[in-house]
Amino acid sequence: MLAYLTNLSSNQGPSILLMAALIPIFPLAAAAIIGLLGARVLKNSSHVLAIAGIGASFILALSLAWMFYTGELPFHPGVILDKNTNFFEGTIYHWMSIGTFTADYGVYLDPLSSLFLLFVTGISLLIFIYSSGYMKGDYGYFRFFAYMSFFVFSMTTLVLANNFLLLYLGWEGVGLASYLLVGYYYPKPSARDAATKAFMVNRIGDTCFIIAIFIIYITFHTMRFSEIFYGNFLASNHFHTEHPTALMWIPLLLMFGAFAKSAQFPLHVWLPDAMEGPTPVSALIHAATMVTAGVYLIARCMPLFINEPAVLHLVGIIGCFTAFMAATIGMCQYDLKRIFAYSTVSQLGYMFMGLGVAAGSAAVFHVFTHAFFKALLFLSAGSVMHAMGGELDIRKMSGLRKKMPITTVCILTGCLALAGFPGFSGFFSKDEIISAAMNSSWSWGPLLSVIGIITALITAYYTFRVFFRVFMGDLALPPTAGQHEPSAFTLPEESHGEAHAEDHAGDKYSSHADEPDQLDGEPAMWVPLILLAIGATFVGYVGVFGGTDNEGLLQSFLSRVLSLNGPQPYLLSPAGLPMPAAPHELVSPALMMSLGALVSIAGILVAAYFHWINRHAATIVGASLRPIATFLENKWYFDELYDYTLVRPLRMLGHILSIMDRLVVDFLVFVIAFFPQFIGHSLKPTESGRLRYYGIGMIAGVVIIVIGVIYLLHGPTPTP
């Protein structure tokens, strides 16, 4: 292995290929070692290995991103380096080769994938550190870190893949990790159900995705991104006229794959339930990274979408609708994590809206900022949950700022970013998407933009509804506060108890203190929070300042891949195809920005009035709007709708088939099974156990064979 990796490196020190190859390998090695040795050897120090693995990957990802930023790509033989398109492709090993079909384990690096790598590994690192405090003493501590490391391996594989099949491998890998981690507290039935639901809904998307891959292979006869996107296929007019159906279906099916993974309508139902997993899982997988894989997929396949504007517009419309729908649901939920889950769905809708108006870099910008502030929000929610002993109902807590000062500051930062408060990261990225939609050449763009602005208002409202409810006002704690989250595992374990004891001794709130005075938890939990808060505040500026051509740094970084007027070959579209023209200015960006700021502040003020200053008014207004509130509390009745339209008919069909199975198939099986039994029973007496009869049978057989041979060979009549 080592020699093989050394081969990948050039004489001039570690090459890009080696570095890229090592990024998934470190977490994989950590996952394997923790998985094998965790239960016996590592136990409560499992996090050290996981953090070391992800830290190494983060350093590598950082160096790769730096190299892409500065443009200094060290020469390396055997590596395809295309200076025009600024992507970098290399093969680590040949995965499979069947006939003319080949799939390699290769890396495809460009600004897009290096950006994804950077924030995936970075956020993962912070969340791993947080988890080492959050998960302390939990039964199956090592299992958690093994799964998490495996997730990072899959996610980095997904992002680094240079072909669709490898991307699909990573795609399924993150799905598996998500399933395992949602069902982490498997003794709880709700956790098991949520895991199954997430897995089943994702299967729909994955099926679409794999069918899209089949069509891609049939159409292009290759799986590699570089050949599909930058080869001669898409640029040739002939190719478009030859495969019109395939070129329509590929983006459509890819879109459904992305929708399932990224929880877009109508496949969004799994994400809120997935909050049954431990909170760091919600933060990492179901907010910051995995759910953005769909955005990554569409951004990556933008050349395929650009040529099918109808599909692209569908992406935008569904994204916009999802954003609005999820935001309205978020208004009327009471579970802290669920609110943030719907907010994630809503923000993902924004991203797809950005993609739908062909503003890829804006969407990716929002992915980037969203990763920070949503991870921050979830981790803060986790801290609250930790401190409140597993209680998440926002009606039962109030005024926590007095007990959790650090968490309050952090969650305030996150809320400001999510609400799009001017100056915070979410403000810039969300605004860019809305502005891009407004100024899009597509006639529906302004409509989407308006809905986006309304959604932004709702977002600001429900975000600060949570904040004012929980952290402001008079102090009120649920009775479980200060206790440990009741473990789902009742299995007694020695180390478990020890960890508890250490935990209590180390914490500032020990069990003998009647009134907990500080609930922020240990440094491993609040240090990552502070780092994320800094990120959530300031990462927005990379999208605004520092770039060329009056653009943000991030935009000019991504423009090599995603901008409409960049130098990519795929935008040299054949004549006659409807191409999104360069954006024209319907409303100036400055005006849009002010509008966004206004909306955000308005939402915050409304929330402040109803949920901080005059909470009684909220009750009155809520009562007068009871039907709407019920509708929203029940999440637009999507679960019920699916239950009646899909689950129940299928269950009925299952019952019918089960009866059929019992009456027909079982009967046949029984009849078939009866014959060997009957023959066996009737032959049983011949097995007397007496040597004599076996010998007689043997000799009789020999006689029959000899007579047969003689008569067959020499005829029935002997010749004396």
Binding site: I696, V703, P718, T719
Partner: protein, 250 residues
């Protein structure tokens, strides 16, 4: 006429059925009578077949010792399998061995004849006698039940003599093209080479053509020696298991 030998086989089967131990002396005598008559008749038939029909002119004496030794061999073989007392069976087997050795002498296999007597009569039979003595139930003045009464002799004889009839059919009444010449190529008028049958001849064959099988046979003997020692060693726990209760009583 053609099926005389098959008929003789049938009569032999009947006589053997009567002779097999069944606890009744009278039938044994009847069976012996039938058997001896059958044996004599078939011997005379074969002798006449050789002299009159088949033996080519000038091939000399048809010989009588084959018939004498053959009759002794068959009679003693029947005695081996039908005597109710194992020790007599063993002694009759010595007689069988001796008559077989006589036949080998007729066939100019002098070394084999001697070896047969030494190994069979001298070694193997002694082992048998030892085991018979060792493994006979204590104080068995009358023969044991399982020695006095044979099991299902009819079926065994039917199967075996069908087999015999098939072989005789194949030998005597087979296709002339596929069957070998019924006579030895060499006989009194044209004797075989002097070297045939001597130990040098056999030794060359054994140590050149059959060197590897010979070595393997040596290995096999060693293995069986070790195996016998291990099997026959007195195994106290195994004896102790007798009392464990799940063994059906006999």
């Amino acid at each position: 006429m053609d099926y005389v030998l098959l008929l003789a086989s049938a009569f032999g089967a009947i006589s053997l059925y009567l002779v097999m131990p069944r606890g009744r002396e009278s039938l044994v005598k009847l069976g012996s009578l039938i058997g001896i008559l059958t044996l004599g008749a078939s011997g005379i038939y074969l002798f006449r077949w050789a002299v009159e029909n088949a033996l080519p002119a000038g091939s000399g004496n048809p010989g009588v010792f084959f018939y004498i030794f053959g009759a002794i061999a068959l009679v003693s073989a029947v005695a081996v399998i039908s005597h109710p007392r194992p020790i007599y069976s063993a002694l009759y087997f010595v007689l069988l061995t001796l008559s077989t050795a006589g036949l080998f002498l007729m066939l100019q296999a002098e070394f084999i004849a001697v070896v047969l007597v030494i190994i069979y009569a001298g070694a193997i039979l002694v082992t048998y006698v030892f085991v018979i003595m060792l493994a006979s139930p204590a104080g068995a003045a009358p023969a044991a039940d399982y020695d006095r009464i044979s099991a299902d002799p009819l079926v065994a004889i039917l199967v075996s003599f069908t087999f015999l009839g098939t072989i005789i059919q194949a030998i005597f009444y087979g296709d002339a093209e596929t069957n070998p010449n019924p006579f030895f190529n060499t006989n009194a008028t044209t004797p075989p080479p002097a070297s045939y049958g001597d130990m040098q001849h056999l030794g060359l064959s054994l140590y050149s053509q059959y060197a590897v099988p010979l070595e393997l046979a040596g290995v096999l003997l060693t293995i069986s020696l070790i195996g016998t020692v291990i099997i026959a060693r007195k195994n106290e726990p195994a004896v102790h298991m007798l009392g464990s209760g799940d063994v059906p009583s006999e």
